[in-house]
C-alpha cells in the first residue's frame, strides 16, 4: 500500500511538472525564433521547454509502468508491503503553516516593519520547531534582531524595511 501511494504521488508530481513545462513552452512561443543565423530570444526557451516536457512525460510513463507492474505482482500473490505512516507524520502540517506565516509576514512587513514582523517570525518558527516555554524564544528573537540591526543596518548600511504603522 505504501509503495502504491508513493508511486501515485510520483505520478501526480510528474503530471504537475509536465503541466509546468507545457505552460512554459506555451509562453515561450510568444518570443520570436527568427533564423538560425540570427537566433531570436525564443530559441533557447523552446529547446529547454521541449526537454522539460519530454523528461516529465518520461517520468509519468516510468511511474505509471512501475505502478502497473507492482499491482500485477501483488495480484499474483506477491507480498504487498505493509501499510505504515511515515514516522514524522505528526509534524507534517508544520511546514505548510510556516509557509502561510511567511506569506502573512511578507504582506504585513510594509505596515509592521522589519523588526516587529521578524521578531514574530523568530517566535513562530521557534515554537513550531518545538522550543519549550516562552523565555528562551523571546530571548532568541531579541538576540537575532539585535544581531540583524548591528550587522545589516550599522555595518553593511542596508536599510531594513520600516513599517508605515510602527
Amino acid at each position: 500500500m505504501e509503495r502504491d501511494l508513493r508511486l501515485r504521488k510520483e505520478i501526480r508530481a510528474s503530471l504537475v511538472l509536465a503541466m509546468v513545462g507545457v505552460a512554459y513552452l506555451a509562453y515561450a512561443a510568444r518570443y520570436p525564433l527568427d533564423t538560425l543565423a540570427n537566433p531570436g530570444p525564443g530559441l533557447f526557451p523552446l529547446a529547454v521547454g521541449v526537454l522539460v516536457v519530454a523528461l516529465a512525460a518520461w517520468q509519468v510513463f516510468r511511474a505509471t509502468r512501475a505502478l502497473h507492474l507492482a499491482r500485477l505482482e501483488w495480484s499474483g500473490g506477491g507480498a504487498e508491503p505493509a501499510a505504515g505512516l511515515p514516522s514524522d507524520a505528526a509534524n507534517a502540517w508544520k511546514p505548510s503553516v510556516m509557509v502561510a506565516i511567511l506569506v502573512v509576514y511578507l504582506v504585513g512587513i510594509r505596515w509592521m516593519g522589519f523588526f516587529v514582523s521578524t521578531g514574530a517570525i523568530v517566535l513562530a518558527c521557534g515554537k513550531l520547531m518545538g522550543a519549550p516555554g516562552w523565555a528562551r524564544p523571546i530571548l532568541l528573537a531579541l538576540g537575532v534582531l539585535l544581531g540583524c540591526y548591528l550587522l545589516f543596518e550599522v555595518w553593511l548600511q542596508v536599510p531594513l524595511p520600516r513599517g508605515s504603522l510602527i
Binding site: 508530481a13 513545462g21 509562453y27 543565423a37 533557447f44 514524522d88 506569506v103 517566535l123
Partner: protein
Amino acid sequence: MADTSILSALSISLQPANLLACFLGVVLGTLVGVLPGLGPAAAMVLVLPLTIRLGPTAGLIMLAGIYYGSMYGGSTTSILVNVPGEPASVVTAIDGYRMARRGRAGAALAVAAIGSFVAGTCGVIGLQLFAPLLAKAALAFGPAEYFALTLLGVILLSHLSGASRSKSLFTVGIGLMLSTVGMDSLGGVTRFTFGVPSAQAGLSFIAIAAGLFGVAEVLSLMARRERPAEALPVRFRELYPSREELKRSWPPILRGSVLGFLVGLVPGPVATIASFVSYGLERRISRHREEFGEGAIEGVAGPEAANNAACAGGMVPLLSLGLAFTPATAVLLSGMLLLGVTPGPFLLRNNPDVFWGVIGSLYLGNAMLLVLNLPLVGIFARVARIRSQYLMPAVLVLCIVGAYAENNNLFDVWVMLGAGAVGYGMRQYDYHPAPLVLGLVLGPIMERSLLQALIISQGDIRGLWESPISTGLLLAALLAAMAPLLHALYARGRFPLPKLALGPQPRNPGGGGAGG
C-alpha cells in the same frame, strides 16, 4: 615563476583584512560542517551580502574559507556523534565512530585533520598548477566549445547527483527555465517577467539558493522529530595517533589526495563522491580489510583526504573556465560576479590579486584549520548539540535578510519563499535541489554560447562541432547520455562481451555502498 607565484599569493593573503576574512571563513565553515543540515552552499549564500562590504579579494577568501572549512568540521561530528555534518563525511562515520567507541576518538580526529591538511595542501598545489594551464588552454575556447562543455557538464551532473538520472536532468531543466527569466542575453528582450519590473534583471541567484538550501532545510527539520545528539568525550592529550596508526594512514592520505583532486575536476557533488570512492578503494586494497566497518584508520584517513582535495579540484573549472559544477562553486561564481570579478581564462590577467589571494588563503586556511580543529575539537563537538529549534529561526531570518539585502527589494524575498516551498516539495518527492541551482548558473552561459556559435557559423548547425575540442566534448556528452542505455543493453546480454574478472568482494556489511 612558481616560487614568485606562491610568494605573491601569500603576500596578498597575509594582508590583515584578508587574513581576518580567511580566519572568519574557516571558523564559520567548520561550524557549518559541524552542524547537520546547513551545508556550505547555504552558509556561503547567507554571508554573500557581507562579502560585498569586504571587497572582492577578502570576500572571496571568506567564501572559499567556508567551503573547505566545512569539510574539516564535518568529520568531527561523524567521529564523535555518529552524525555527519556534511554528506561528504558520511563514510567517515562508519569507521571513525567505531574508533571513538573503542577509545580512539582522538587518534581518528587527528588523522582526519592531518589528512585534510595534507590533501587540502596537495589540492591547492594542483589548483595552482592546473588552473593557469587550463585557463591558457581555454583561450582557444570559442562559443561552440563553451556550449559543448556546459552540455557535457549538464549530462554528467544527471549521472552524479544521487537521485534518478531523469529526475536530475529534469531538475537541471527547471534551473535552465528559471535562468531565462529577465533580459535575454543577446537581444535585450525581457522574457517571462509577467509585467513585474523587479524580474527584468532576472531572478536573484541568492534568493533562489537561500530558498532551496536554507528555507527548505528549515521546513524539512520542522517536519522531522529531532533526536538530541550525544557526543563521545575527547581530551586534548588523547589527540596522538600511535606510530602504527600513523604508518597505516599515510598511504590512504596520499591516494585520497590524488583521487580527490581528480574527482573534483568532474561535475557533480564531488566531495561526497570522492570520499565514497576513496573508502571503496581503501577497503579493496587494504591489508586490514576485516577491520573496515569496525574502526579501520584507513577508512577515516582516505575519505577525509579525498573530500578536501576534491574541494580544490572543484575550483579548477571555476577559476580557469568560469564554470561551476557544484552548488558551492556555483555560489562562489555568483559571489565573484556580484563582486565585479569575472572568473574564467582572463581572471589571472585582469584580477591577479583575487586569483593569487584566493590561492594563498587556501594554503593559510588549511594551516589555520589544522591548528584550530585539534585543540578546539571539544567545543565544536558541543556545538553539534545546539538544538535546531534555536538555530533554525536564526537561519530563516538570515535567509530573509540575505535575499532582501542584495537589491533592497522585497520581491527577492518572495522569490526566496517560493524557492523554499518548492525546495521542500522537491525533497518530499526525492528531487535534489543542487542540479536546479547549477542549471540556473549554467543557463545564461549555455544560451549565450549557443546563440553566439550559431551567429558565427551563420546558422550552420555544423559549426557547433567543427573544432576538434567541441567534437571531443560533444562526443563525450553523447557517450555520457547513452551510457545508461548501453549499460542496460550489456546487462540484457544483447552484446555478449567477456565478463571482467573481479576479485573476491570484501565481506563488510558496515561499508555498504561505499564503493560508489
